[in-house]
């Protein structure tokens, strides 16, 4: 379980996240939706500490971090927390000087100190899972966007994270390539990974989301299943869901 308690983040005078409280269940898929600038991405980045919150608490299966502007969180704790979370970025962010398999084993070898041969073996299993084992020795720029994102997913999985975070994983892809990435996320959801995904794909959110969180102006406006949100009677949310159908 990933618990978030009164999490806040400011940039100067701009409140990006305003006292967010959430419980993200293990082995479920949670989808974060909301208009642009609502703080979705910032929230997701806070769950990986790429953005460090100003205040509040995050607890991932008992590993707890408290944020306070005047007391910086220890670097060691931040690194340990990041090892438990896997991040998939909108723009893939594969290491361009490394081959596909080298991208995947980078975390296990450098951070988890796994043996290289072992990491490659595990990495090949993951590549098979995302259907790209024949691309193991190619460089990212030789792959399509969809393939790159699938490698990025395998790279995140290689760390055996307790939660997988997806930041608009398909918005840099054209519709044809989008399908192959969504298919993998769908599979992971079925395998009961703990997933948090920021997306604009309402159809996909409806399909895979066990719980949907609607964010606006840095606050959680509503949360629940898709139908709960849709029938909540909140006109703002219904209109948003309808426009993005």
């Amino acid at each position: 379980m990933l618990q978030i308690k009164s999490l806040s983040k400011h940039y100067d005078d701009l409140k990006v996240l305003d006292q967010i409280n959430l419980e993200i269940e293990s082995n479920k898929t949670t989808v974060i939706i909301g208009p642009s600038g609502s703080g979705k991405t910032t929230l997701l980045r806070c769950l990986n500490l790429l953005t460090v919150p100003d205040a509040g608490e995050i607890d991932l299966n008992g590993f707890s971090l408290t944020f306070d502007k005047n007391h910086k969180v220890q670097k060691k704790k931040i690194l340990d927390f990041r090892k438990k979370t896997g991040m998939v970025f909108q723009s893939f962010n594969l290491f361009s000087h490394r081959t596909v398999i080298e991208n995947i084993i980078e975390g296990p070898v450098t951070v988890l100190k796994k043996k290289k041969s072992e990491a490659i073996e595990d990495g090949m299993v993951l590549l098979k899972k995302v259907g790209l084992e024949e691309k193991a020795n190619q460089y990212p720029r030789q792959l399509s966007g969809g393939q790159q994102q699938r490698v990025a997913i395998a790279r995140a999985l290689a760390m055996k994270p307790e939660v997988l975070l997806f930041d608009e994983p398909t918005s840099a892809l054209d519709p044809e390539l989008e399908i192959e990435v969504l298919e993998i996320i769908r599979t992971l959801a079925k395998e009961h990974y703990t997933i948090v995904i920021v997306t604009h794909k309402m159809g996909f959110a409806k399909e895979v989301g066990d719980k949907i969180i609607f964010l606006e102006n840095g606050k959680v406006l509503s949360q629940g299943s898709y139908s709960e949100l849709y029938n909540s009677g909140n006109e703002r949310i219904s209109r948003f869901l309808n426009t993005l159908q």
Binding site: R82, N93, F95, S96, H97, T110, V111, Y139, R155, M159
Partner: protein
């Protein structure tokens, strides 16, 4: 113009000029560039890492070196420092001046190369739980190195020619030797063209090395 006497002078002087090129110009270039690169790496990392206290010092160093003529720097170190009680031989003085000079320019090259590595890849490294030094060593530096190769060769080739300034502080490198022969034989045009030609050969070799290095680096990428 190219009568027999001149041809004889050119022939006789060729090795007289080439030998100090091999014993002075080349070592002076290599040693200064190696030290300069070392300085550059440290200065660039300090600036990119925003290391406290050291960052303003690094900026100041680059500002002063880039803002003053190399010849003046050489004179300050060799002719000026004795007034402050620091007396250096000509060769070490030249090495110090060239190293400091290359260090300032190359540090900017390296800084730009480091900043050219996409932020997304750096974040991806952090997201895997890497610390700053792991990200630097595994993600940033290998990519920055590749980007910096052509401009570093630029500095390297410049340095080969800049070493001729050491003639001004009595280092008997190629140009100094040529000046002496020219004074003796009264054939400055032929001799200065000859030494120019030898510099050109040195730089041509370096250009070839650069081409090979660039090809090798690209090959690695497949």
């Amino acid at each position: 113009m190219l009568n027999e006497r001149v041809l004889n002078i050119l022939q006789e002087s060729f090795f007289k000029i080439l030998i100090p090129g091999i014993t002075y110009t080349i070592p002076l270039t290599l040693v200064s560039f190696a030290f300069g690169l070392l300085i550059a790496i440290v200065v660039a990392l300090i600036q990119v890492g925003h290391v406290r206290i050291l960052t303003p010092i690094a900026r100041f160093y680059v500002w002063v070196i880039r803002g003053t003529p190399l010849l003046v720097q050489i004179f300050i170190i060799f002719y000026g420092l004795p007034n402050a009680g620091i007396v250096l031989n000509a060769l070490p003085a030249a090495i110090i001046a060239f190293s400091l000079n290359v260090g300032a320019y190359a540090s900017e090259t390296l800084r730009a190369a480091i900043l050219s590595v996409p932020l997304g890849q750096i974040e991806a490294g952090y997201s895997l739980g890497m610390n700053y030094f792991q990200v630097l060593r595994r993600i940033i530096l290998p990519q920055a190195f590749k980007v910096s190769v052509p401009p570093l060769f630029n500095s390297f080739i410049s340095l080969v020619k800049d070493t001729s300034l050491a003639a001004n502080i009595t280092v008997t490198e190629m140009f100094m030797v040529t000046q002496r022969i020219a004074a003796k034989t009264f054939e400055p045009l032929a001799l200065y063209c000859e030494v120019a030609f030898i510099y050109l050969i040195f730089c041509t070799v370096l250009t070839k090395v650069q081409n090979i290095a660039e090809r090798k680096l690209k090959l690695e990428q497949g």
